[in-house]
Subunit: 233 residues, 4 copies
């Protein structure tokens, strides 16, 4: 019963996905990490949300090996594992196939920063990491997916504490945060930003990005050292 | 009372259609087959879902003749009959007029395989069978609809155990599976793939198909002999 | 208490509009006619659906004059009145500002017949009547709206028993049927056809209309003298 | 307990936003004014709607200073304050990031008046105020946002009692009315008008505006001195 509260956290965050309209059937998974024990809890593979219980949640280590649990963990477990191992500020990770985020992933394009809804959450375009090379796909695919995210962040000079969202080309979004709940929050925000950006370009295909001053103003008023959005807690 | 459990299975699967947002009013029908008795259960024609009961379900043979039931079966019964008769692995068939799948049908286009959401379910474009010839339409229309599906699969070299979905030009989708529940699951997946592909082309009209390695990787990890998605049951 | 059941019929049909997602706030109205008494029941103007009761329903004659009721009838009452007076097969009329039907109305275009979902209900394009002339607008506007519908049907050679839907340019849809319930059913069908046709043209801007044989086959199997869709009652 | 009923009005209006589908998480805020006491009640910053209570509502004066309340008011408080101070007919203000209204804001375009749904509420295009200058953004940003709305109304010759909606470029909509409830009503109407106008241009990119006679007829029948829409109360 060591991992009861970790499993609970993971279970609750997973159950937010269908409630927020972010998944059809089993197309998503959320994990939550316990940094002291160096393990994370993750949804079992292919189990429908309406049948899922906290007991079904699987505990894995940073290599993606099962530490506790009767069920097989998510097929994306090794991606979660590598992200936790490499980025030690992460408390939770969420992966969905939400409709508009997938559409941008399939289109193979970064989501341009057009407005303050976007800038309230991150101050740059949301990156779309290119599809993995054939070698990566035919090798340890889910592990390499994590590396492809790092490659993308490295090439674009992104910092994972400021950009908590990524698209994988031809696949879909991964998001993270200081908790599993925050990771799921970011999945919902990303889906809405993807939808807004799509509609914006339909209305005006030549829409420029938001101006720098406004972009930074909104990011800073919520995330800067003098932030005044929210209750400061 | 011979067919009680078959009618129940058919009823439950039909009631999933409105729950999944796949039908307006009576625009859909699901059937479930009993291979031992060589009959299938199907929704009666034109009965609203909110009034439907398991008792209303009609039992037919593989020629589409009513074996048991007070009501007239779905007007599409002969299409179901021919599919069951010809493809003996089928356990259930679902037909809807779901919005985005119908839009692709009306556009007369195959749905290109753009991403892993698609490749998780089938490794090829979802085919759009051409509209029936005038002779077929003026002949035994619903029976010929089945033949047109076979013609399409034959011309494109598709296998009905790997591709469980088809669009009929100017009409809409038929899906199938090893059970009625799986057939309905495929109807919902098809609608979502149709919506994602539509949005993808709106965002980037020149989107190429997913690369072969990634396409096959996702199909195989879920359906191949070394599949590791799900709980293996 | 003469009109109790007529008011009930009208009330129930009106309450279907928000349930079917066809109205925001008070943007719609449904009426039901009593041919023997030559009166119709209609929603009062500007009353929110959540506050509406059967007692609030207003009874009017074919000139649009109030026969019974404490409240002012819908501002569109004279349009309903003229349609009932002129087309004596009508049992109910529905007017909404449903999203996609309004979009086609604002675009000023007929909805082309692209598929069998459309042909199951009517065998022609859904007409968009041109905006009223300035004289008509500045005259007895709502009465003239009825005339503009007749003008449109006359010019296009449409028959109101076969085409139970119309768009008014820059305004929105009117639908009718043998009962108020059927009129509302037609409002929902029209909204779905409008959405499907819009998506079809987004996917393939050069989509041709459905072929004649298929168009007539679907219309006839549901509405022809040898119709076999539904339970024949 | 001076402000109990004002807080209740503000709370109830805020709770309409998620119910009407106008906000995700905390992306919106509504205020209600008490003209006699020269204060307004506003949502606290960053508090989720499902946790919000009437007690949490903050009371501010027309300079945006907190008069009563334990929590920090909305980060947009100074915009509300300046609008109340300058336009004394306002009873309530609503700010959302509703999807289609934000898309038009990001596109930087006025919403053209295409139909009677629009003309029933206002007789002109819904203006999009240009993004603030760098000086305004780096100065007292939320206060200057109010000034930018005034600048826009002044340049376009708009009157705030006839046009109760505005878009801020790259940001989103503000709406107002004689009460907080009416301000929220206007937020929902604006979102629907934004969606209809977007769809209209997708269907017909060359759609002209509604003709003047029809535009004014609909505005006048609902808002003119001889208005006959509604129950006259």
């Amino acid at each position: 019963m060591m991992y009861t509260s970790l499993k609970e956290e993971c279970y609750e965050a997973n159950m937010q996905l269908p409630k927020l309209g972010l998944v059809l059937f089993t197309f998503g998974n959320v994990s939550a990490v316990d940094r002291e024990r160096a393990v994370f809890a993750i949804k079992p593979s292919g189990v429908p949300y309406e049948k899922l219980t906290a007991d079904d949640i699987v505990i894995c280590d940073y290599e993606g090996r099962v530490v506790e649990g009767q069920l097989r963990p998510s097929s994306d477990t090794k991606t979660h594992a590598l992200l936790y191992k490499t980025w030690d500020t992460l408390g939770g990770i969420s992966h969905t196939h939400s409709t508009h985020a997938v559409a941008w992933s399939q289109a193979g394009m970064d989501i341009p920063i057009f407005g303050t809804t976007h800038a309230d959450h991150t101050h740059q375009d949301i990156p779309c990491a290119p599809a993995l090379t054939d070698e990566m796909i035919q090798g340890d695919y889910e592990h390499e997916t994590g590396h492809q995210i790092f490659n993308c962040f490295s090439e674009k000079g992104l910092v994972h504490t400021e950009m908590e969202m990524v698209l994988l080309q031809n696949h879909g979004p991964f998001t993270w945060g200081k908790s599993a709940e925050k990771a799921v929050y970011n999945s919902a925000v990303l889906e809405e930003l993807a939808r807004m950006a799509y509609l914006t370009l339909q209305i005006n295909p030549n829409t420029p990005r938001i101006k720098d001053t406004l972009r930074l103003k909104h990011y800073e008023r919520k995330h800067g050292k003098n932030a005044y959005y929210g209750q400061g807690c």
